[in-house]
């Protein structure tokens, strides 16, 4: 393990760090006029980083040779899988941003740089194999995210979202840090391998407390119930492209981190955290479903929907085996596609003056004024509800298959039954856009990039997505195997 090897392994992170620093200088000299150029370069940097991580995934990299900096960092197939999702989501949130911010004259040069930094931090989270790397990645992501949430400085809601996200995020970080310190105190190590090794004899009460606090802190970050309260406010208030980033990249990162901590650090003690995860999963499914029913703002609805989806993903975690992990990874990819599609569709909902339309009631009769957009939204909603043959069904199917195969039939049955409650509010959106009399509000023209991304994500979640299944199956299995190879 020499330095050159370690530096080779973190090539994507280096690319992103250098790119963000250089682009920051460009921003300093070029000002907001250079925003577009910086955006393009930032997307290029993300693509380059994606290309750099791809070989590890395709080659199924795992084991000791992927470990960098003496067990601090790991660039294995699992990390690559999550990073590709993260970089892709970050690129999307850059591509869709100009059309949104231009209206407010708020397309500032810092935006792409902040997104790059957030993507860098998120990528480090999924590669972390040490509590220190974990915390650095997490804070790097969070600090960029706080600023991004408040990016529309003149908008009260955006500022509120930024403040709320900051205060609650800091609280979550505090809880996590407390849990980490307890874990370190009782395990005597900060590396996941060391923690795992120290717990083979059994679990002391202190370490158990550590686990509970670590999971509580992580639950904040993935917005799992009962630590979900910030999500609707932040998702509603933050500018929509930023919300897209939160709902996709940040969530994938936090979930990937949770998987690493759960399986690598506390893998032998799965009995200790399975109950917590089962509770969080069911609570998220139910709260996500019930909370959304009364919402009229579609961004808040998507926030509850993401809480609901996190619940389903956590069912895969609760199973605590490679099959469950592979199902989670698969679900995450589909979830990212659905969420990106959903938020891009929301961006395209504009009235005559180009003002965004966020109230569901004002979308009435959308199917008559904008049939294509209405069809896309309906597909996304049915897919989120998990109705076959849309691809969203397959994610739920795999997660529940893993649960049943892992002997958690009751969990699967309750989770599935609760998904029916969720179907209700997705149906409500379809009802409003298809059945109600046309309100004729949504008129504005749509940006080319929005259309392109919407079409791509809709093709992915359409039944055509199943064609990718053999390939995806292989990828998720490789990634899950890499995650479990350290055990």
């Amino acid at each position: 393990m020499d330095w050159s090897q370690s530096l080779r392994l973190i090539a994507p992170e280096e690319t992103l760090s250098v790119a963000s620093l250089v682009l920051l200088l460009v921003a300093a000299w070029g000002g907001d006029k250079a925003a577009r150029l910086i955006s393009i370069l930032a997307v290029a940097a993300l693509v380059a980083a994606g290309v750099l991580v791809a070989p590890a995934l395709c080659g199924g990299a795992m084991g000791a040779e992927t470990s960098a900096f003496f067990g601090q960092f790991r660039a294995d197939a699992f990390a690559s899988y999550a990073k590709i999702l993260i970089y892709l989501s970050a690129a999307v949130s850059l591509v869709i941003a100009p059309a949104f911010f231009d209206r407010f004259k708020a397309m500032r040069a810092e935006y792409p740089v902040l997104v790059l930094l957030a993507a860098l931090g998120t990528g480090m989270m999924v590669s972390a194999t040490d509590l220190l790397t974990l915390y650095i990645g997490l804070e790097m992501n969070s600090l960029a995210a706080y600023v991004l949430a408040a990016f529309l400085r003149t908008d009260g809601r955006s500022a509120e979202a930024g403040l709320k996200y900051f205060v609650l995020g800091a609280l979550a970080s505090g809880i996590l840090l407390f849990g980490m310190s307890l874990t370190y105190g009782f395990a005597g190590a900060t590396s996941f391998a060391g923690i795992s090794a120290s717990m083979t004899q059994g679990l002391s009460n202190g370490a158990l407390f550590g686990i509970v606090f670590v999971f509580a802190g992580l639950a904040f970050k993935i917005s799992a119930a009962p630590f979900h309260m910030w999500t609707p406010d932040v998702y509603e208030g933050a500018p929509t492209p930023v919300t897209t980033l939160f709902a996709t990249a940040a969530k994938v990162g936090a979930l990937g981190l949770t998987m690493r901590v759960a399986f690598e650090a506390f893998g032998d003690q799965s009995a200790a955290w399975q109950q917590i995860v089962v509770f969080a999963a069911l609570a998220s499914i139910v709260i996500g479903a019930l909370g959304a029913i009364r919402q009229d703002n579609i961004k808040r609805l998507m926030a509850y929907s993401s809480i609901n989806n996190v619940g389903f993903i956590l069912i895969g975690l609760a199973v605590a085996n490679p099959e469950g992990a592979a199902a989670m990874l698969y679900y995450m990819a589909i979830y990212v596609a659905m969420t990106v599609g959903g938020f891009v569709a929301i961006l395209m909902l504009k009235d005559e003056n180009g003002e965004p339309v966020e109230e569901i009631s004002r979308m009435a009769g959308l199917s008559r004024t904008r049939p294509g957009l209405a069809l896309a939204l309906a597909m996304i909603m049915f897919s989120l509800a998990g109705i076959p043959p849309l691809f969203g069904f397959w994610g739920k199917f795999l997660v529940f298959k893993a649960a049943v195969d892992g002997g958690m039939v009751a969990l699967a049955a309750i989770g599935f039954a609760a998904s029916v409650i969720g179907a209700f509010y997705y149906l409500k959106v379809v009802k409003v856009i298809y059945f109600d009399e046309a309100a004729d509000v949504v008129k504005g023209e749509s940006d080319f990039w929005h259309k392109l991304i919407l079409v791509l994500s809709c093709v992915f979640i359409s039944p055509l997505g199943y064609l990718l299944t053999p390939w995806f199956d292989g990828l998720t299995r490789t990634a899950a195997a890499a995650l479990f190879s350290g055990l």
């Binding site: 109705i387 076959p388 043959p389 199917f397 529940f400 298959k401 195969d405 599935f416 379809v430 053999p470």
Partner: protein
């Protein structure tokens, strides 16, 4: 014919037409939809002609392994064949029924219908349990849209009720399916049908499947979505809902619940009998007091479906054959009745019985066809309704005379509400001038009711054509169920043959 993927083609034709319809204007969408459904009907005829009666149990098989144990496997036996024939037969009629009455968003409407056709055929032809589930569940989306967009005044409530009821039923079924596949190690339905699950676990699996099929069927007391959905759906929606979609529940019982869980089926048979008895009596009485024609027929559907379940859970050949025939007959008859309601609804735009009256005077030909279907619904000998009901009730009599007794009252009550409906609509005085001015059937309507009428008579006079393809499958199912067959209470014994001269003397006395 062997090797030609005719089932895939039957799935593909409506699917391709559905996609085409989305981009066409109203007129060409109608034409394309009609042509596609007629083409599928032709394929259905070819399918039936090539079906080898008495040959292999599963025919026209196609199988492609896809991913993670999931395969694209199609294939039909006699039971599935008949239900596919029913679907393809009703579809052109449905398109015809909506020819003029649907004016807004015709392309989308036709696309939704063609999609429903694809999914229905898929449900009956699927041989992979998850493929079956996909088709079974995907039907919710187009039906939700059909009811919600083109339905009547209270359509939103009806569409929600339809969607959520059926979804709740089927998600539990999916969990059970996952468990079965995990245990049996295969998703192939014929293998699962022969797999012996632990009787203890069967109980749970049976309940999960029951939750889904009972809602789809629909059985009392989870039938309440049906009247709501029917009343609000457009005529063609009602025809397809009553004609084919309800058969998915019965098909599910006969394909999954009975052969896969024989012990549990026997254990729960009294529950099914109880619910069916309740359904027959209660929904028939409810039908008697309806003043909305479609609601009346919807409740009568629930009563007829109860005859299906009672026959299925009789555990003998008569019962099983009878319930299949009731399903086919009900598909034709209730479809035809909804069509008859639709015909006069198109003219007067009301389903209220009291607004009509004396139609026999100005619409004599309509009255004739309506009478034929009314009689078939009652189960008059010579019509399709008689054969199935007689066999079903004969089948259940062998295991439970009480159930037979109570369910038979359904025929009497059925006669009561149907004749009462017929009297109020067709006979009597012409109370309303606008109803009296309605024109008789036109060519389009003739083309819809005549095939239905002929099919109803054919099934009534020569049911052998319909029993023959499924005889071997029913016998196989009966053999599978034999080990769990409940002990019947009537203790039937074969009567001693009477001496020949006594019978001759008896004959002479007449």
């Amino acid at each position: 014919m062997s090797g030609f993927p005719i089932l895939s083609l039957m799935l593909l034709v409506p699917l391709a037409a559905a996609l085409a319809c989305l981009y066409l204007d109203a007129k060409s969408a109608r034409t394309v939809a009609l042509l596609a459904t007629l083409a599928n009907l032709a394929l259905g005829v070819v399918l039936w002609l090539n079906f080898d009666v008495g040959g292999a149990q599963w025919q026209f098989q196609e199988r492609h392994e896809l991913f993670s144990g999931f395969s694209y496997a199609l294939g039909i036996d006699g039971i599935a064949l008949l239900l596919i024939e029913l679907s393809v037969f009703l579809m052109p009629i449905c398109i015809g029924a909506s020819w003029n009455s649907i004016e807004k968003r015709v392309g989308e409407y036709m696309a939704a219908f063609l999609l429903v056709e694809t999914l229905m055929i898929g449900v009956f032809a699927a041989q992979d349990i998850f493929l079956f589930y996909m088709f079974f569940e995907a039907g919710l989306i187009p039906m939700y849209l059909i009811i919600g967009i083109w339905g009547g005044a209270d359509r939103i409530y009806a569409s929600y009720k339809f969607f959520l009821y059926t979804l709740l039923g089927s998600v539990l079924m999916l969990v059970a399916m996952l468990w079965m596949v995990h245990t049996a190690g295969t998703t192939y339905v014929p293998t699962l049908m022969a797999y012996d699950f632990d009787p203890q676990v069967q109980t749970w699996l049976w309940l999960a499947f029951f939750a889904s099929f009972a809602v789809k069927m629909p059985m009392w007391p989870v039938h309440t979505w049906l009247p709501a959905a029917h009343v609000q759906a457009p005529t063609a929606g009602s025809v397809i809902l009553a004609g084919v979609l309800l058969k998915m529940g019965g098909y599910g019982f006969i394909r999954f619940s009975l052969p896969m869980f024989p012990e549990a089926s026997a254990y729960f048979a009294p529950l099914v009998w109880g619910l069916s008895m309740a359904a027959v009596v209660i929904t028939s009485l409810i039908a008697l007091v309806q003043d909305d024609m479609k609601k009346l027929i919807a409740y009568s559907s629930v009563a007829h479906m109860a005859i299906v379940t009672i026959g299925l859970f009789a555990f003998n050949v008569q019962g099983l054959e009878g319930s299949m025939l009731v399903m086919l007959s009900h598909g034709l008859v209730s479809g035809a009745l909804f069509l008859c309601v639709g015909i006069i609804y198109d003219r007067l735009h009301t389903r209220e019985i009291a607004r009509y009256g004396g139609l026999a005077i100005n619409m004599p030909r309509y009255a004739l066809f309506f009478l034929l279907f009314t009689m078939a619904s009652i189960g008059l000998p010579g019509t399709s309704g008689f054969v199935g009901e007689f066999l079903s009730l004969g089948g259940i009599y062998q295991v439970s005379s009480w159930a037979a007794l109570i369910c038979t009252t359904g025929i009497i009550l059925g006669a009561a509400y149907m004749l009462y409906l017929y009297r109020r609509v067709v006979f009597g005085d012409q109370k309303n001038a606008d109803a009296a001015a309605m024109a008789d059937l036109d060519l389009r309507e003739y083309l819809m009711v005549i095939p239905l009428g002929l099919a109803v008579l054919w099934m009534g006079v020569y049911p052998e054509s319909f029993i023959a393809p499924m005889r071997a499958d029913i016998a196989a199912l009966d053999a599978r169920l034999a080990r769990a067959k409940p002990q019947g209470d009537p203790k039937l014994v074969m009567g001693k043959e009477k001496p020949a001269h006594e019978e001759a003397a008896h004959e002479g006395a007449h």
